[in-house]
């Protein structure tokens, strides 16, 4: 996953359901020095009886915001969604030099 264009990640999940797995794994895909490089990461553990599986809310460098309910998504789907915008930003970076 391309993470260097992310500035803000808010991840919330219910750990007691299978639906929370995608958001949990997404949290583990962020690199070890993400916080040191200025990314803001907030993880919320939802209560056990919560109906929500998982929500990932991500803000990119250009201010674009993606908020997804990951209950029925796989990790690969989620990464693909994120990378789609990140690749556009990378192309912009390359062209501007």
């Amino acid at each position: 996953m391309i993470t260097r264009h992310l500035t803000n990640c808010a991840i919330s999940f219910n750990p007691f359901t299978k639906a929370g797995k995608t958001a949990r794994i997404f949290a583990s895909l962020l690199p070890p020095d993400a916080r040191m490089n200025g990314m803001k990461i907030a993880t919320t553990v939802l209560p056990r009886e919560s109906q929500i599986g998982g929500i990932v809310d991500v803000t990119f460098k250009d201010g674009h915001n993606i908020k997804l309910d990951t209950s029925k998504m796989s990790v690969n789907d989620l990464v693909e969604e994120m990378d789609r915008h990140s690749r556009g930003l990378e192309r912009k970076d390359d062209l501007s030099g």
Binding site: R24, S28, P32
Partner: protein
């Protein structure tokens, strides 16, 4: 092997061009330095040795000083004479981990399950150091704290842990007779363990903290450092602080351990409950509260009431002993009983 080379030497002496064995130049002598079998003519006229050259060409043609590199894997050897048969190879790493996890599950009254997101090695070590230091402060200096010593943080392998959990929660509950890594235990738990409330938690990078006994002060110390609500504990190592940010408390498993006799009845609680338990005072403080409460609500009466039964029993038995030993000169039998009765009623 040695016999072969010896025979070869004998042959190379009698028929030098038969087979040049690289070892034939080595002098095989006895302890006295005398060549062996010099006088045995029977050997000299013996037929060439029957070495199955086709079966072991490498041994026959290569110099024997070169070591044979045969790679073996521990997991390959399945049958062990000292181990009972198990589902996977008894000496494989997975089986060993399974045993470790099963023993943890059976022995710990409280196990915190957490997720660790890409902690660096230095962050782990700083975190462990901080926890050890904080736990050491709970007991006076110089005293040995067994609880702190046996409080452990382990990073687990989810799949193996899930299998071990199935054995601890399902197989043990059924009163399974076979050992934990047996085929039977595997077959009976493989499908069912997917429905256990802990099983969705065991995906991804997961670790556990295990406590040897239920001790709220120790739990509080660990929870406050590792999973702070709001701000982290002051004065921590910056490396430990950055590690703490990457830890997420998911759930805990309580009970279901051997000491309480409740094997197979573990319960899963969420992080909120863990924090509530950790906020409780220690057992000493709780006992103190009970004593104080009893004293304030006329505890003297209660103590007398509680003591009444054992005291009366002791008196009765003592009276009976005296009657039997003849200390009390009671001739008619009815009087001895009559004496015991008032003691009983008092």
């Amino acid at each position: 092997m040695f016999v072969h080379s010896e025979n070869l030497r004998e042959c190379s002496e009698s028929r030098p061009n038969f087979l040049e064995h690289p070892n034939s130049s080595a002098r095989l002598t006895t302890a006295r330095g005398r060549p062996r079998n010099r006088n045995s003519t029977a050997l000299q006229i013996q037929m060439p040795p029957r070495i199955p050259l086709s079966a072991r060409p490498a041994l026959a043609l290569k110099p024997t000083t070169q070591q044979l590199s045969v790679r073996t894997y521990a997991a390959v050897s399945t049958a062990s004479p000292t181990q009972p048969p198990s589902h996977r190879a008894a000496d494989s790493r997975k089986t060993q981990l399974h045993r470790t996890y099963l023993s943890l599950l059976r022995s710990t009254p409280l196990m915190l399950v957490f997720q660790h997101n890409n902690l660096k090695a230095v962050e782990w070590s700083a975190l462990r150091r901080e926890i050890t230091a904080a736990l050491a402060k709970l007991t006076p200096a110089g005293e040995h704290d067994a609880i702190a010593e046996h409080t452990r943080i382990n990073v687990i392998r989810g799949g193996v842990f899930s299998a071990a959990m199935g054995v601890a929660e399902i197989y043990d509950k059924q009163g399974g007779k076979e050992h934990g890594t047996s085929k039977e235990a595997y077959k009976l738990t493989n499908k069912k363990r997917q429905k256990h409330p802990l099983s969705p938690l065991l995906d991804g990078p997961v670790g556990i903290v295990t406590f040897p006994v239920m001790s709220p002060p120790h739990i509080k110390t660990v929870v406050d450092i590792m999973f702070p609500e709001g701000r982290a504990v002051k004065g921590l190592d910056p490396l430990a602080l950055s590690g703490i940010q990457k830890l997420i408390l998911l759930a805990a498993r309580v009970d279901g351990h051997a000491a309480s006799g409740s094997i197979g009845t573990g319960r899963v609680v969420d992080g909120k409950m863990v924090r509530w338990v950790s906020a409780l005072p220690g057992f000493e403080a709780l006992r103190g509260q009970v004593v104080a409460m009893l004293q304030s609500v006329g505890g003297a009466d209660l103590v007398r009431t509680l003591e009444a039964l054992p005291v009366s029993a002791v008196r009765t038995i003592d009276a009976h002993r005296k009657v039997l030993s003849g200390e009390l000169d009671v001739k008619p039998e009815g009087e001895g009983e009559a004496e015991a009765k008032p003691a009983e009623s008092s």
